[in-house]
């Protein structure tokens, strides 16, 4: 049963990405798309997603949102003692399988009946997110493409920074030796479709929007959301796209591989690839 599952380090990395980088995107969905956000208009409640974890303080890991009058605040990696609604996974493995889309091991849902209206709203937003992010092909309409780009762009640097903070050796090897440098992902013509990762001597931080301190050390600049998704969803060859001008590496090209490598590392966990590879 659930207790017999041996939780691996990879499960923990995946959980780190989901708790800190992926689940917070729920707020982005609700704020960007009124269709989902309006469900919570004027509402105040606490919603949490958690997974039991022996190593964690209090025996579980979680990320929760406090919603005040329909305004969302994210508490990534923080456990709320008494959420109104909670999706509670019995372990990190099930949690990872669920969020990576590798399966549907349903969590225990607390508060579903008491707050049924909110529950359906949350479920709707979560399904919107997973439908976008777990789709095999890119969406056909521009609005969905923009939304998915936003999710990817916000997820990736955040996920890289999380893996670094968790001490992932493949990430540390890059950050430990790095001077203060920012790597940015930019979709041209869409100011909100930007995000960045700043690393310096082992430390890392991620951010959304423009990197304001200076021009990033290196920026991957995509021509438009559709072409960006080809790369982000591994549908196209990066070198070819650079040659064709669909992707422009603004910065020393030798370092394009660095950010690319980090992105693939996040994807390896977030898409659940590790679940197949490390069986």
């Amino acid at each position: 049963m659930a207790n017999e599952i041996k939780i691996t380090q990879s499960d923990k990395y995946a959980a780190g990405i989901f708790f800190y980088a992926a689940i917070p995107l729920l707020k982005v969905i609700c704020e960007s798309e009124p269709k989902y956000g309006n469900k919570f208009k004027g509402k105040s409640f606490v919603f949490q997603i958690s997974a039991a974890c022996e190593d964690a303080k209090g025996g579980k890991m979680a990320t929760h949102f406090t919603v005040e009058n329909g305004v969302w605040t994210t508490h990534a990696g923080e456990v709320h003692e008494k959420p109104d609604i909670e999706f509670a996974f019995p372990n990190l493995r099930n949690f990872a399988i669920f969020f990576s889309g590798k399966g549907m091991p349903l969590p225990k849902i607390v508060g579903m009946f008491k707050h049924f209206g909110l529950f359906t709203g949350i479920l709707g937003a979560l399904l919107r997110m997973s439908k976008l992010m777990q789709a095999k092909d890119k969406p056909t309409n521009l609005a969905d493409q923009i939304m998915l780009c936003k999710l990817y762009l916000y997820l990736l640097p955040n996920g890289m920074s999380r893996l670094n903070k968790m001490g992932h050796p493949d990430i540390k090897v890059v950050t430990d030796s790095s001077p203060d440098r920012a790597y940015a992902l930019i979709i041209e013509g869409y100011p909100e479709l930007q995000s960045w990762l700043r690393i310096k001597a082992g430390k890392s931080m991620s951010g959304r929007g423009e990197y304001k301190r200076c021009k990033p050390f290196l920026a991957m600049k995509f021509k438009n959301p559709s072409l960006a998704l080809d790369i982000l969803m591994s549908k196209a060859d990066m070198v070819e796209y650079i040659r064709e001008g669909n992707l422009f590496i603004d910065g020393a090209p030798e370092f394009g591989g660095t950010i690319g490598g980090l992105m693939f590392k996040v994807a390896y966990y977030a898409q659940g690839t590790y679940l197949d590879v490390e069986k």
Partner: protein, 336 residues
Amino acid sequence: MAGGITFTAVDSTKLAPAEIFGKTIAELGAQDPTIVCLSPDLATSTKMRDFFEKFPERFFNVGIAEQNMIGIASGMAKSGLKPFASCFSVFASLRALDQIHTDVCYQNANVKIIATHGGTSFGQAGSTHHAIEDLGVVRTMVNLTVICPADGLETANAVKAAAAIPGPFYIRINRGFDNVVYNAPDYGFEVGKAVEMAPGTDVTIIACGSCVYQSLQAASILEHDHKLKARVLNMHTLKPIDRDAILKAVMETRKIVTVEDHTVIGGLGSAVAEVIVEGGKSCILRKLGIPDKWSPIGLHEDLMAHHQIDAEGIVKNVLDVMKMDAEKDEDWGDEV
């Protein structure tokens, strides 16, 4: 000289300065039949292919013989041609220096030397291929105009200027990628005149070559993180140097940091120091560059960070300099 550069600024963001040199010289070659190009088995590395393909009869590959190349260029110049001789900076400035000295500069021959792979831009090749002494060395050559352009478009401007102005030129550009500083060629490039890239009165950062971009980023960080306004001067011409811009910076900011991909002995920092000292006004100067040590091997960007001539290194040093005072002025008592 008629005509301008026809390739667009957009293209320039995707081309390395050496490639832009290649395109520029090919275009200039079409306008001026006396332009010839010489290369010591480096037509590919120094991007002279375009010229070679257009004007094979005006391209001379002299084999791996830099001294011979510069001597030949001198003879050509003395016979009415306008030779552009290109090779790695380290070999142009050191191996062929005697020829630059006697055949070119002493005779004021109209030879244009395009010195590629400047500074540590060919970082992985190690110190045999790092050109960290060239600016200091060639700066001492009489008659020689020395330019270290900040990016591709400035390279194009410098090459055009060299073609238009009689006399020997040494233009130092990098290998491969360079960050883009200018988006359009018409920013007012003039040989011997520094370009103010950012206004400021707290400190002046004077840079050349790839360090101009780094200095601009440093200025941005200084403003963003520390509320400091740094003036940034692109000192693309090391010789003749823009004395007025330096002395103005001394008067107005009293703190100067020079940044160059070159040893701190003899290059931009030394040139600026000479002007400052002769100006007679006290000022704090910090010279950033390669210290008096052989550089490690590595990627250019990493070596720049190692030598603190990248944005963050410049910021760190500027902050140090901001703590220093040019004069001791602890006594604030009123005179009676």
